[in-house]
Symmetry: D2
Subunit: 350 residues, 4 copies
């Protein structure tokens, strides 16, 4: 089988690096172009990029010269983007216009009514919105966003609970990793022996995104799911892996064993199974009371699994639990690639 | 004025060290004895104690020989205890029996109906329970406990809100410092590049203690305050300073400016003012959205102030905020000393 | 091919866990028994062991019941030991007596004249000493030790330089990882926002071991290599990977390009090549001035490669460089397994 | 006594913040102006400065508007500078020309033959060079630099040893704190779970500066001291406090007790004693084998003391030891202020 040529926009950042690493030896996709900021155009990736992943930079990437993020220069049917939100707004549209499917980690389009925030474990049917993008915007391609890195894991858990019992209200307090802030990101003096109790714009995303993702596709729009989230987000001195403490009010009463069963039995929609990055398992339910922990558990399922622990009753709502998700794999680059795999499977690619 | 002789039980642990450091040059109290575990009896404190505070060990402590925690050997009217809960149960009672006032950081007696969990900023009138201890137990002295280090700061905040608006329900998620686990405490490999989402017994304490502290003294018992707390507690890689994210449902509606006023105007009960360790200010309300932070703000008011920030509306309850409190000063040794100062002021000491 | 049955002594510690992880799916060896401390005998490994590795515990290990470290109970031809030095002294001898080859990470036997400190990249011929053990001690098996985790990487570098230019004097200052201290090891409060400038017994090992490893086998003893090492060892807040800064006086003058060539061209002795854990490459020479770094480079060659950088002139001696080696893989469990592979290849096993 | 008006150039950086904090309530100097980068001119310091010190920002600073670093706007006799090297070159000269004494932490002028690198504990007589600046450059004021933060502590130790025994050769390997890199400085992802084995330009400074500081003033120049230093510098995850491991060859043989006596008996030159920031003690010799440690010992002598430990024989040179010095206090802002106090005492100020 011939591989599908793809490009990575803003490939030198930390999510860009994860795209490069996760697309190395991908069975379906082959990276043909990497783009960078203006001052790096023409430089080999290996020289322009300060690589911060423990996995070594693939050799094919090292010698690839950085290009501009221009559809005229980069003619491939599939684009992975980790552009900053501002730049994404214009550039991603131009690629979609020119016929490419853009799977993006940027937040720019997440709130457009005809753009899905796609989680294949949760709402693969939202991929239909790409058709409406084509109709309404005259695009030949389309845009699929993935969720914010903190929203991702908890939304997968909320999906299982929504299906099982319905959802009413959710308190979420996060302890987020440094890699979520990119490069150079958080200055080391800010976080050494410290916690930062605020992350710009994060709480708004965590409160809104799950409701769209869990919403119902009705005609050409999505009816947002009818529950409320209150979020408090914190940065802690951890390299990778976002932890979220949740207290949840269900739609109907459920015992802890019932909740645990629903979580560990949760299965991915048929259409999203068996893809190269399909998480295996989708949810890992840990029994030890001191788990999940970022350093020990973030790489379960190669970083694609949503790890859950401490499922227990809540004295105010129905239950409490802790969710861990690898923020630059499942919550960013891996999520975008999984989205692309789904889009390819349903035949909307090329 | 002649100083009151005092002793510190279990002086080599991290709270014991804080007692030593905070009692150095105390205007009212003079340390006459330090106790340690059996294998260290007779050794000079400077030799037996692995001192882990940045402030230097006082010279008077260095050369003091460790004694047994025995009332027969240690005859002083005031005892500070950082004994482990199990040992505290028997030993603290014996000192109280023998006539000493025991101000303890141990949890052993917190749930005895005639023992106060005393916070001078909140419930100085609970000191009356010591009289009932004397009547009912035949003790000549008495025991006053201080709250768990995580309960402490949030209870002071809850007191201000209870007075202003009443309280109904509280979600609390903590990010707690390493010093809260004592010495040797958390192994470094457990917390390096990591978060621990569980602290043994901690959530129970955080859910129960504030209700007793905020309760009303009625006859010889305390009517627990009528609100509910749900707590999730986490350990993070910070040396000192516990941070707690709170979402609070008040007894009646209040605007954020009203809440902020109530917090910044909160004043300590008359009887607890002007003591050597009275926090100044009692509550520090920070305006920057990224504060409080443990490393920068834990030493406000010499570590006795309760620091509050990010006061903002909550989409589910009424308001959200973040509380920071120095866990081994306000939340442990400093709290016990402040209790002793109050007890002395009301004339119950000696 | 039938696999060789092996056992791991003291399998619950951090080096023991690395043995379990690295022996999972090993092509030659199959773990038949795990031992633990007295209080855990009979418990399944998954219950007795607080697993601290990010790689998941293999399922076969989880359900294996812990045994005593007794040759009567554990009859396999190959033993991997991460016993503490004191226990190793007696127990390893009993296994060797009973006919097993013991590949040990303990230091107990390193200074016995008839026991090799074996590094297959450096001194595979020292394996001959096992024959003398059998003659002199009447053992049916034998003991091969591996070097201290800090000695390991630097000795491989010193070997290349010794071969190329001879060696006279070496200054070594280490920055060592937390996992080198085992479990529970360094208390987190000791290392948070801190460096420990001392590691018990470490400097002596680093100064002595390389001279034995680089010594010549002459008759039944080893003539220690004739150069001097001065070592200063420090503990830093890194999970894995020991960094050593070296200043080296060679036996004869050499330019930096000559030194670099000798390092990057260094090849493993014929007999030690092509084994399952043979490092590939043996030495990785990094060119960027800010490498090697523990987090980014410790897993090069699956943690078996010795990583070198910053090769440059020294104003006092001939050259300076920085060495990084994964302390629990190449410097401990991986080293012992590589030793066992070599011993099996030369036919001394069973 | 009326205080001397002073200004701080580049007051928003980390060394600038230390100047502000250390000059708060200084008995001789009063801050009249603070300067910042172009985009912050006119803003109150409290708004423009992201304060990263645990000590609270003084109120007088909070409301002071930032000015340009221009002698026309800032007419005070004493300037403290933490400008970057490039900007320092021009701006500091203009202030010196206009009549101000500039005590600077910048490296720009350290290698001018008529500019001293001044350590009052070591070479107060070098202050004479300011006279030659006035003669040769026509300046009405003058410039005194302080040493690099890593050079500082070790040079004070080397001075004691030079006086006692002479010096020949020194190996120095540093473990340096994050605050040495300023704000924003080292990205947190670069140092989390990591060590950086390279600091730009640092090794050159550490190898050169001590020889000038320890040199003899002869006529109008300084004869550099005749010994050699080899330096390797590393960054570690510590907030404050640089640790340096030294191996030293003396001019003549000395026993460890002789060395220890020389270090603990070292006394500051008469002229530099009794000033507001004179370290007390100048050198603190620690006896425990695991000290000094940055977190526990950096604040000895309010951060002005040079802390030494692990004095022991060296198998190659004569002795080894470990030095700790607070890099932003003794090694930067505190050092500059101490220099200014000395300059004022000798009557060269105003």
């Amino acid at each position: 089988m011939e591989k599908i040529p793809v490009a990575i926009l803003a490939a030198t950042g930390i999510v860009g690096q994860r795209f490069v690493q996760l697309l190395d030896k991908h069975p379906w996709f082959q990276v043909m172009a990497l783009t960078g900021s203006d001052r790096n155009i023409g430089l080999p990736y290996g020289e322009a990029c300060r690589w911060v992943l423990p996995e070594p930079m693939p050799d094919w990437a090292r010698n690839m010269d950085l290009k501009r993020s221009e559809p005229e220069e980069i003619k491939v049917p599939l684009i992975f983007s980790s552009l900053p939100a501002q730049a994404a707004l214009e550039i991603e549209a131009r690629f979609a216009q020119a016929g490419a499917i853009v799977c993006t980690n940027a937040s720019a389009y997440r709130w457009e009514p005809d753009v899905p925030i796609l989680l294949p474990e949760v709402n693969p049917e939202h991929v239909e919105l790409i058709q409406f993008q084509r109709q309404q915007r005259g695009w030949k391609g389309g845009i699929a966003t993935n969720a914010n890195c903190t929203s991702t894991g908890m939304t997968i858990v909320l999906k299982a609970l929504q299906d099982g019992f319905g959802l009413r209200r959710v308190f979420a307090v996060s302890l987020q990793a440094l890699s979520g802030a990119g490069i150079p990101g958080v200055p080391s003096l800010d976080i050494a022996d410290n916690v930062l109790p605020w992350i710009s714009g994060e709480e708004e995303k965590v409160e809104r995104e799950p409701r769209k993702i869990l919403g119902k596709l009705r005609g050409q729009t999505i009816d947002q799911a009818d529950f409320v989230i209150s979020a408090q987000t914190n940065r802690v001195a951890v390299t990778d892996g976002h932890l979220v403490c949740l207290s949840i009010e269900l739609g109907k009463r459920a015992s802890i064993p019932e909740v645990s069963s629903v979580l560990s039995d949760f299965s991915i929609p048929e259409i999203s199974r068996g893809l190269p990055l399909t998480p295996e398992p989708v949810i890992k339910l840990m029994e030890r009371e001191d788990r999940p922990q970022p350093r020990l558990d973030r790489m379960i399922g190669s970083g694609m699994t949503t790890v859950v622990g401490r499922v227990r009753p809540d004295p105010i709502f129905d239950l409490r639990l802790v969710v861990l998700s690898h923020n630059t794999i499942r919550g960013a680059a891996g999520g975008s690639i999984y989205n692309a795999e789904l889009i390819n499977k349903v035949g909307m690619l090329g």
